[in-house]
């Protein structure tokens, strides 16, 4: 089965206004292989795959699918040629249900009608294959982002394509779900399906990929076999330098208590949550998907109207009725869903970064100080290494990872005292992850208190000094990070209470 | 009458009445060999002012205006006065400005004429429905005023429902259908225009109450004349819009040639009953 090229892309060039996203890139894919496509945020990975699928038109270059030269004008043509893609930014229809989304455009028919019985049956089959428990009749808008990602995966898998592109499929999944996905990938490989796998999690690459192609700044850097390389080499290819450890050794310096939650409940979301948070510490919150971590954070942030219990802030009871109240008091929440809750996609990078602090950069108390706003944006573009042609670029034109950095910049610009990070490194490259970890260190050094919600257990374990574990809307227990391990967390996360 | 250029500003052409007025004016202009520029305000006073301004830019010799509203038109007339263009008003009068001649029939009198006719036919005793035009328009106001003036004269006459139906045939039908549901006893309907009357006529016919209820309209459009001739409607008040248009153009040409004209030329009203 080796050496049968199902896909070959040669000298692909693609320019967007102000950005050369791809510069003479080569890529090839063999039957039955899983081929990783790596690179920093904005390196051009998604663009290359969009060119392949006929979503973007290439400026130059050639594409051969199974030896035939192709130029797909739209996704339909690509689909017909046996290509399927899992999009990095979820592309689902909010008001249609899971089954309708998965088979959109490929419905089972009964004459002119949709054969719903068969549609649901086939949906069950695909979902079973993925081993997930999602109701085929649930509307997408009612699913959390992890489940939405599974639907997106199911949608691509159900096409029975020969070439399957997975653009960061695991960024919103839990470990458990990732395992299921990997088993599936193994099975697909056996069926001689070729897979392009894009991810920022290098350990995944080593677990399932055969070969790796690395891009940097839109250019082809190299192609290696996974068996003949290691993490350090890949990182070097990606970022052009070596990065020491994945996780920095965090230095905690817990000071006085800044935030205390007592018996916080939100109907149907959170039950009786209590904990306390000190300045200069990082409190990790672990739990399975749907355990209520996001809801707990949002409850503190003033998103829910109905809630009971108390929040004490700097020793006094504080009423937080809206995000504005929270932010005014120095509490900021970074949403896990950057597209829906983080960014204003149609506005520029600068507009997004400054929105929470506009009132502090005024001239004559009335007008936005354009120079100050530009400085602010440029500071974070530099500090966080955001890849954008200028601060005026619209956020919707940035790569996924760089969009995430914009949201983080917005948060930092408010100089908060309590920061709640919800999946902060989702879709972020190794280099940038390290930058964010360093940034957390800087924050706690300045006495900021940090809450870290993450589905990547190593992240929670390595970065926090204390860990709360949630299960079914409740806090099950607290662990000392130094003594905890994945097993201890999983025990609590699956509902076995600590003594 | 060489090289005379007339401007005609009509209130609306969405109503056959004013289409007749325009047609009368235009055919007379053609007959007399003068140029006439017509603009339509679509029943918007501000739009009428703008279009009169546009006409003045084109250096017309006389302005014939059929005001959307008697008060609001004063600005347009003043603008014409300032440009040295004499003004003639048709159908509706103006409350100010220099107007050399006014050609019209009286809407209030027409409403009264219809009311008197109904009272007479019913022996000064009966229950009447009034279908009103678009609230706030001068035609609705004046015709309603005249009609109610007539009703007040007879102690036996009772207006049991007054409802707006937008000068529109479909709405006239709908509103009449609803009124029929709520009023088992109706002797006559007066509508502020024929369109509503004709709509009401269809509703009444569909309800099988044509024999009990007499219908009187206003404007004497072709459909209404036919209905009267067939006995489906009792009467309609004719204002002879085409005649008004013709007379306006005749007068305008006289003005342009420096001849004397009458300050007010009444166009007789006529109640068409068969």
């Amino acid at each position: 089965m080796a050496n049968q090229k199902v896909l070959e892309m040669k000298n692909i060039t693609k320019t967007f206004p102000g950005v050369k996203a791809l510069d003479r890139v080569n890529f090839s894919l063999e039957k039955g292989e899983v081929h990783a496509l790596l690179g920093e945020n904005g390196a051009g990975k998604s663009t290359l795959m969009k060119v392949l699928n006929g979503i973007h038109e290439r400026d130059e270059g050639e594409i051969f699918v199974k030896g035939e030269p192709v130029k797909f004008q739209n996704t339909k043509e690509a689909q017909n040629a046996g290509l399927a893609i899992i999009h990095q930014e979820l592309e689902l229809i909010p008001y249609l249900n899971v089954a309708e989304n998965i088979f959109l455009g490929r419905e089972e028919r009964n004459g002119v009608f949709i054969n719903y019985k068969k549609l649901y049956q086939k949906t069950e089959e695909v979902l079973d294959l993925l081993g997930v428990d999602i109701d085929p009749k649930a509307k997408i808008k009612d699913l959390n982002i992890g489940s939405q990602q599974m639907v997106e995966i199911a949608k691509a898998v159900s096409q029975n394509a020969d070439i399957l592109v997975m653009d960061e499929p695991t960024s919103s999944l839990t470990n458990q779900e990732i395992e299921i996905l990997f088993e599936l990938i193994e099975r697909l490989k056996e069926q001689e399906i070729a897979i392009v796998y894009i991810s920022h999690r290098l350990e995944e690459v080593f677990e399932i990929c055969d070969r790796v192609t690395v891009l940097r700044d839109g250019q082809f850097v190299g192609e290696v076999k996974t068996s003949e390389t290691d993490e350090d080499e890949l990182i070097k290819m990606m970022v052009g330098r070596t990065i020491e450890d994945r996780f920095p050794k965090m230095k905690f310096n817990p000071g006085e208590e800044i935030l205390r939650i007592e018996n916080l409940s939100v109907p149907e979301e959170i039950e009786n949550a209590s904990f306390s948070l000190k300045k200069g510490e990082i409190l990790g919150i672990a739990g399975l998907m749907g355990s209520g971590r996001t809801e707990l954070a949002k409850a503190i942030f003033g998103v829910f109207k109905e809630k009971t219990g108390q929040i004490f802030y700097r020793g006094d009871q504080l009423k937080i009725n809206s995000p504005a109240d929270a932010i005014d008091n120095g509490i900021y929440y970074l949403s896990e869903d950057r597209k829906e809750e983080g960014l204003i996609l149609g506005l520029s990078v600068a507009d997004n970064i400054s929105i929470s602090v506009l009132k502090t950069i005024l001239n004559a108390n009335t007008f936005i100080d354009a120079a100050a706003e530009k400085d602010l944006a440029e500071k974070y573009i530099k500090d966080l290494n955001i890849k954008t042609p200028s601060e005026k670029q619209l956020v919707k034109n940035l790569s996924g990872g760089n969009q995430q950095k914009v949201v983080i910049s917005k948060l930092l610009s408010t100089k908060p005292e309590v920061v709640i990070f919800d999946e902060p490194t989702r879709g972020i490259d190794v280099g940038a992850k390290r930058e964010i970890y360093n940034l957390m260190q800087d924050l706690i050094d300045e006495g900021v208190a940090v809450i870290l919600i993450s589905s990547e257990l190593p992240e929670v374990l390595n970065l926090s000094n204390r860990i709360l574990v949630m299960h079914e809307k409740e806090i099950m227990g607290e662990l000392d990070a130094a003594e905890a391990d994945q097993e201890a967390i999983m025990k609590l996360a699956t509902g076995r209470r600590s003594q | 009458a060489q090289d005379v250029k007339l401007g005609l500003a009509v209130s609306t052409l969405n109503n056959p009445f004013f289409v007749d007025l325009k047609d009368g004016a235009e055919s007379m202009a053609e007959e007399m060999g003068v140029e006439i520029l017509t603009v339509d305000a679509q029943d918007d006073a501000a739009s009428q002012l703008s279009s009169v301004e546009d006409l003045l830019i084109k250096q017309i010799d006389v302005l014939i205006v059929n005001p959307v509203d008697g008060n609001a038109v004063v600005s347009a007339i003043t603008a014409a006065n300032d440009a040295g263009v004499p003004v003639i008003t048709v159908d509706r009068g103006a409350e100010g400005g220099d107007v050399v001649s006014h050609i019209a029939s009286d809407n209030v009198a027409g409403g009264e004429m219809a009311g008197d006719f109904i009272a007479e036919q019913l022996g000064e005793e009966g229950k009447v429905v009034e279908l009103q035009g678009i609230p706030g328009t001068s035609a609705a106001r004046d015709r309603g005023e005249g009609f109610n003036k007539a009703m007040d004269k007879y102690s036996g006459m009772e207006v049991i429902a007054r409802q707006p139906a937008g000068f529109d045939r479909a709405e006239g039908m709908t509103v009449m259908e609803n009124i029929l549901q709520g009023n088992p006893e109706i002797d006559a309907v007066f509508a502020h225009n024929d369109n509503m009357a004709l709509g009401a006529m269809e509703a009444i016919a569909a309800a099988g109450r044509s024999d009990e209820i007499m219908i009187v309209g206003f404007d004497a459009i072709d459909d209404a004349r036919d209905a009267v001739a067939e006995g489906k409607m009792a009467a309609t008040v004719a204002q002879k819009p085409d005649l008004m248009g013709e007379m306006a153009v005749e007068t305008a040409i006289k003005v342009a040639n420096g001849e004397e004209v009458d300050e007010y030329t009444p166009v007789p009203l006529e109640l068409i009953t068969e």
């Binding site: 229809i93 | 052409l13 045939r169 479909a170 259908e177 709520g182 004709l198």
Partner: protein, 319 residues
């Protein structure tokens, strides 16, 4: 989390919600029943459904257009145009009634098709395209009729607007048939799903390999067709094609759609909601007439009640 009990709760709530969509209408009906003895009678109720049919048929098409995230301001003008064309064919040209109706329907569909092409292919904003069509089609109608009504039809033609089958007025029957067809179209066919999908996320729909342009074109054309159906019924009912017929109906139709719970940004809503919305407007007009509310106060009452109805509906849906 996705356990069964929560799913059951979910769908129970949904059923409750669906029931609640009509709560504004229900409240209105109850209040009017107390206020006027004539309101809750069979003849009056038949009267109301007959009156609602014209606007309802347009608003079915409008529902689909709005579901795709579009809008159509030209329905009233397309209605008048189709009515005038059919009437002209019968009265002036002496054409066979059924042929004349077909030509009227084709005329409406053609105008709608043009809207669709301009929106989908030329990528112009639907608001502007249909606003332009609103004036253009009105202009065509006025030119064709020379601003005068066309009247005088035989019984064959009058059947569609003024006839009965049993005790039921023909327009009501046509409306119900169309309601069922469009309900099924939206719920059970791929086209229907794509209409929702486009309004929900057009990009994603396109990425799923669906020819979104074709669907949008079909929806606008269908809307033109439905406006034409309405126009022909109205012409038949009035026994006259009015050049200014249907003026302002676009607002009534959009109001019916939005009152019925369809979001103006597209992607969610039902045609059942729309008929409820159309009924609210029709019942309100009927009630105000029955109560003989005077003209100026009628406007205030109408606005106030519509606001109240939508308020009740939305409140009850937030459980």
């Amino acid at each position: 989390m996705n356990n069964l009990s929560s799913i059951k709760d979910k769908s129970f709530l949904e059923i409750l919600n669906r029931f609640k969509t009509g709560i504004g209408l229900l409240a209105l009906v109850i209040v009017l029943s107390f206020m006027s003895p004539y309101f809750l009678t069979v003849p009056n109720l038949l009267n109301v459904v007959r009156q609602v049919s014209i606007i309802a048929i347009i608003s079915f098409g409008m529902t689909m257009v709005i579901l795709t995230g579009g809008i159509d301001l030209s329905v009233g003008s397309m209605l008048a145009f189709a009515g005038a064309i059919s009437a002209g064919m019968i009265v002036n040209t002496g054409l066979n009634v059924y042929l004349a109706i077909l030509i009227g329907l084709a005329a409406g569909t053609a105008l709608g098709l043009f809207n669709g092409l301009a929106v989908a292919k030329a990528k112009l904003p639907a608001f502007i395209v249909t606003l332009a069509m609103m004036t253009v089609a009105r202009g065509f109608t006025l030119i064709y009729t020379n601003g005068r009504p066309i009247s005088g039809f035989d019984e064959t033609f009058r059947f569609f607007g003024a006839g009965y089958i049993g005790a039921i007025p023909v327009p009501v029957i046509i409306m119900f048939l169309l309601l069922i067809v469009i309900y099924i179209l939206l719920k059970k066919t791929p086209l229907g799903r794509y209409i929702y999908a486009i309004g929900g996320n057009e990009k994603a729909t396109k990425l799923s390999g669906i020819n979104t342009d074709k669907i949008k074109i079909a929806v606008y054309a269908l809307n033109g067709f439905l406006a034409a159906v309405s126009g022909i019924i109205l012409t038949s009912r009035l026994n006259s094609a009015q050049p200014m017929a249907g003026e302002g109906y676009e607002l009534d139709a959009i109001a019916a759609v939005v009152l019925g719970g369809t979001s103006l940004s597209g992607g969610s809503g039902t045609v059942i909601g729309t008929i409820v919305g159309a009924l609210i407007i029709a019942v309100l007009n009927n009630g105000l007439n029955l109560l003989n509310v005077s003209s100026f106060y009628q406007l205030v009452a109408k606005g106030g009640v519509i606001l109240l109805a939508v308020f009740l509906d939305r409140k009850s849906q937030q459980q």
